[in-house]
Amino acid sequence: MSAARTMSAARTPRTLALILVAILAAGPFAPQWTMFLLTIALAKGLVVLGLMLLLRCGLVSFGQALYYCVGAYAAGMLGRSAGVSDLLTLMLAGMAAAALVALVLGFLLARYRGIFFGLLSLAISMILYGLLVKTEALGSSDGFNVLPSTLFGIRPADAWVRYAVLALAAVVTFVAALAVHRYLGTPLGRLAPAIKDNEIRVEYMGASARYAIHVKYVIAAALAGLGGALAATTVGHIDPEMAYWTTSGEFIFITILAGTGSVIAPFLGALIFGVIHTVAFDLSPNTWQMVLGACLLVVIVFLPNGLWSLFRRRRAG
């Protein structure tokens, strides 16, 4: 099992590169709506990638929408007040803003475990929601539109905008996923399952669980900020709903659906979520939540390690 695991982990960078090439190559031939679906899946996948880091040490954040929203608003406000429209700059700004907030809040949250970690993150994300809803300068509950994005100073032709955004998103996501994959192999990254199993033994070993969690928390927030900024520029509109608890619930949903087996899982999960969402919403707009809820139940009961465990079992066998 462990040999198979190392092998499949060693294959991850190659698989990631293959997926990147496939997206870049197939993009120009894909219909516009699939490119939109894919870009949003990448944005949500980035958030979920961060949640996966936290879930590996047994922490479930019911407020990750906070960083998604911070990233989106940072990008939107940068465009509005400074006229910045470069997509990469906006994404990096969203990431930096979210990481900064998480660095500060992390001193508090890294002390919490279990249900209390979840509830405190929920409370903080709802604070942001409450603030944004009442901030008229930022459009209150309506939010505001984000400037059309440019790429390195050029606005691509209308037919190519979606592809350009998708391509950049895919490259950025590739780098982020690879970095997280590397991180999982470092001593600090490997500490996660140990923290989940028995925190006191981690401390006997001479490692600081709180420090490890703080680092993961900041990384997770940075990824969520990146995803939020990407979603903001892709959709072209942001509103306080991005920080509401149901948004966090959606991210947790995808995390559980995907499982923590590999850095590829979050993106697969986000894509499957997007497809279920689109198809179910299309077929019957009043029961799509029911379909999602049923999927979540089935996954929790029959695949406690997420959809990714399907792949691993087959490979190991």
């Binding site: 279990g114 409370a123 709802m126 929601y129 949903f253 009043n286 029911m290 809820g293």
Partner: protein
């Protein structure tokens, strides 16, 4: 700050506290006994509101005397809970108790998503209104401010629910058994208490309290899809402030949130929403287990 405005803050605060208390008390009961943070609580609130609005509305249309509608509100909450809650507990939740606290929370989240749409399937997406129970009673004046008498019913419901639950826990056989289960599930089981039946009872009773909250709120609002979504976070906030699983805690949490909110609505309306969650975050930051909580031993 004039006396009049102060009174207005106080009255609004009390009414809002009463509503919060009824909405949240079942959540704290279920957490205390079953250690489940129950997201479906909001669904039961919505179920209660829908059942009350549709049944009361239908009966009034057939010529029922409006004075009976209060009993019908209660009866519809009871009816819908007795159908749905045992179904969920026996059909799904009871197989999940071995799982981790956070995983059970996610399961109730999945059930919440399912119930949200089930409600739309049964009642459709058009809003329901029943104004009769609200309009029947008229209103009273405090200085220049007018308050409907119906709001006093909400306060009454809150007091009856709180006192009733406290009496049930301390003075009935079932209540005393429940206290034992709250204290230590495994020892209770070893002593011969039928813990499974206690869980079924608790889940149904806790959900009933949420449904009652919804049923008695129904006449004051339009009952629309998504009604329970906000109730979930609000009741989480109330329960967390007081301490998960604590009955006096839920009362204190409701009063704090109610008064703080009504004060901000009057003096600083921009902060209305965020102040509730600020209080919740502050309490979690300084007293992570809430204001009324017992210290738990660290387990190795």
């Amino acid at each position: 700050m004039s006396l009049e405005q102060f009174l207005a803050v106080l009255i609004d605060g009390i009414i809002y506290s009463a509503w919060l208390f009824v909405a949240a008390i079942g959540l704290t009961l279920i957490y205390g006994v079953m250690k489940i943070v129950n997201v479906t609580h909001g669904s039961f609130y919505a179920l209660g509101a829908y059942a009350a609005a549709s049944i009361t509305g239908a009966l009034l249309a057939r010529g029922m005397p409006p004075a009976l509608s209060y009993a019908v509100l209660l009866g519809s909450a009871l009816l819908v809970t007795l159908i749905v809650a045992p179904l969920i507990e026996r059909g799904i939740l009871r197989f999940m108790y071995v799982k981790d606290e956070v995983v059970i929370l996610l399961i109730t989240y999945a059930l919440f998503l399912i119930l949200e749409d089930a409600i739309k399937l049964v009642w459709g997406v058009n809003p329901y209104f029943i104004a009769e129970p609200y309009g029947l009673l008229g209103s009273f004046d405090v200085f220049d401010l007018t308050y409907p008498y119906y709001n006093l019913i909400l306060v009454g419901v809150a007091i009856v629910c709180g006192v009733g639950l406290a009496w049930m826990l301390n003075h009935t056989r079932t209540g005393k058994l429940l206290v034992a289960v709250i204290h230590d599930t495994e020892v209770s089981r070893a002593m011969g208490i039928n813990v499974d039946r206690m869980y079924l009872f608790t889940f149904t009773f806790g959900s009933l309290l949420a449904a009652i909250g919804g049923a008695f709120t129904a006449p004051t609002v339009s009952v629309v899809p998504g009604l329970g979504v906000e109730v979930i976070v609000l009741s989480f906030a109330v329960v967390v402030i007081g301490g998960l699983g604590s009955l006096p805690g839920a009362a204190l949490g409701a009063v704090i949130v109610g008064l703080v909110r009504s004060a901000t609505v009057h003096y600083l309306p921009q902060a209305e929403l965020f102040v509730i969650y600020l209080v919740m975050a502050m309490v979690l930051a300084f007293r992570p287990r809430g204001l009324f909580s017992i210290a738990e031993a660290r387990k190795i």
